[in-house]
């Protein structure tokens, strides 16, 4: 039986906040409601990162996933017809549940094989720093500078590509003015 310390209690609470909405996403019929549950699930993951004393990654999770990606998904969901009604259950229910069971089996294998104490907050506590931001900054602009720059170039291309796709040609404006007259 697991000892119920404050850490374990918070871990169980955060896990519930993550998993229960994640189950809800799959079983709720309304897309909007499942999106709300998805945001709640993201917040739970941020709480798990806090428990691992990874403060920067927790805030980044909150900022990027709960704050920004959810907005992106909102606009995507708005484009689907019948957001809140008549979302029937998937035809591939059996296949999906088989996949879920296999994934669970894989996770159990991973947890039992690896020594997780090396990967949790205990490993961080042994190291000699109290501020993860400085460590992440020096690593990103030192050891992993090429990957960092490549990622930024990739994002720039994505931005330019999105603008060039969305941008309408000038002839569109002329048509509109003619129509109105």
């Amino acid at each position: 039986m697991i000892e119920l310390t404050a850490y374990n209690f918070s871990f169980i609470m955060m896990t519930l906040i993550t998993i229960l909405p994640a189950l809800g996403i799959a079983f709720v019929n309304s897309l909007m409601r499942s999106l709300l549950l998805l945001i709640l699930s993201f917040i739970g993951v941020a709480g798990l990162f806090v428990l691992l004393s990874a403060d920067f990654i927790a805030i980044a999770q909150l900022l990027i996933y709960a704050g920004s990606i959810s907005i992106l998904l909102l606009f995507a969901v708005m484009l689907t017809p019948e957001i809140s009604i008549n979302n029937e259950n998937s035809k591939y229910f059996l296949l999906a549940s088989l996949g879920a069971i296999l994934f669970l089996y894989l996770m159990i294998l991973l947890i039992t094989i690896f020594d997780l104490n090396q990967l949790t907050g205990n490993a961080l506590n042994k190291l000699d720093f109290d501020n993860t931001i400085e460590q992440i900054g020096t690593l990103l602009l030192g050891k992993y500078i090429i990957a960092f720059e490549l990622a930024s170039v990739l994002l720039l291309f994505a931005l330019i590509g999105a603008i060039s796709i969305v941008r309408s040609s000038e002839s569109d404006f002329d048509v509109k003015i003619k129509d109105s007259k």
Binding site: M32, L35, L62, I71, L74
Partner: protein, 446 residues
Amino acid sequence: MSFFNQVFKGPQLAYYFKKISIAVFIFIVIVAGYFFSQLFFDLSKFSQFIFDFVLQRSNYNFAYFTSSIIGALGIISFVGLVLLVGSWVERRVIAKFQIRVGPNRVGPFGLLQPIADAIKLMQKEVLVPAIADKTLFLIPPVAIFLPAILAWGPIPWAPNMSYLNINVGILYVFAVSSLTVPIIFFAGWSSMNHYALLGSMRTVAMMVSYEIPISLSLLSVAIITGTLNFSEIVLWQSTNSIWLGLFMPFSLFTFFFASTAEINRTPNDIAEAESEIVAGYHIEYSGMKAGLFMAVELGNAVLLGALVTSLFLNGWFLFGIEKFVPPYIIFIGKTVAIYLLLIWLRATFPRFRLDQLMNFAWKTLIPVSIINFFVIAIEVTILNQFQSTGILIYIFALFNIFLFLGLIVVWSKIFSVDKFQPEKIQPKFAGEIGGLEAMKGVKSVD
């Protein structure tokens, strides 16, 4: 009696009595305030006392839990007090601007008016539209309070007096306040009202675009202070004896203006443009549910004051006065000053149009903030070459002020929006495009 009447005529007597009583009142307030301030100079003693008191009677975890709960209650009660007093202050001050009296009937000076308003709002019936998504409809008014209160956490009230003294303070506030965006969207969507949906959509668009200039201005604060911790930013300003608002006026302006867009204050309160979309995303909410949205907007305005104070106005320091007055009083004083500035803006400026706001964000604020950011980054590299910043920081501050003015002039004269628009789009009357005859071709929505 006749002598008395000769010296003090009737109205004169009342006049002098009023003056003297006001003077006596101010004197009593100053004396009592001095004694109270000496007693409550360092509030960290009290929290330490509570922590030790509980620790003697139980284990560490429980003591930590209790003191954190008490600290959270302190912040929540402060926010509640701000919501009550703030609405009164806002109405009275705006009434002064508009040469009215304002609420003055309920209680002395109308001070009990917010309580009367709250009771009235609670008594009203909560109407839920028949076609609304009822679960989603009832969540947003409550959920929108979470970011508004969580963001108060890392605010440094005084030395050793900040609830969440975390290394990622600025990012935390930024991340938590970005959670309001989906909540506002859910409020608008679940109402199943076109005006509400339009209001929430334009609010989301505006918030997303104004987060970029805010993050750029916060980035410049972070690179010069070398930290994201609020307390350390305040201490940096005092050790280098300069207010960051003076050192980088454009960042201050960007942060202030863009934050008014984030919290839906005039001149950027596009979310509730009555003339265009009736009331915005909270049109279908009635009673206390609408009141909660209003309260959050007011609380966010005061929160903006606290953020500007700690980031740009040197927090609890004020030219040595902080040795005699409790530092948190100075902090709250600066916060209230920013809040009064916001009320002044609300009373003075008209509302921007949506397209003007978006153009201003994308074509002016973001490019100019990037230029400003690079200039500050170069200055920081130069400053880091020296042991002490000395007089160089004041030279850079002067340079930055001129840069601020120069960039405004350059951007308004040379790179203005009109230059890139091939022809000006003039609004057309219905008669010009064929009048009501043309409208007959349009299919009815019903």
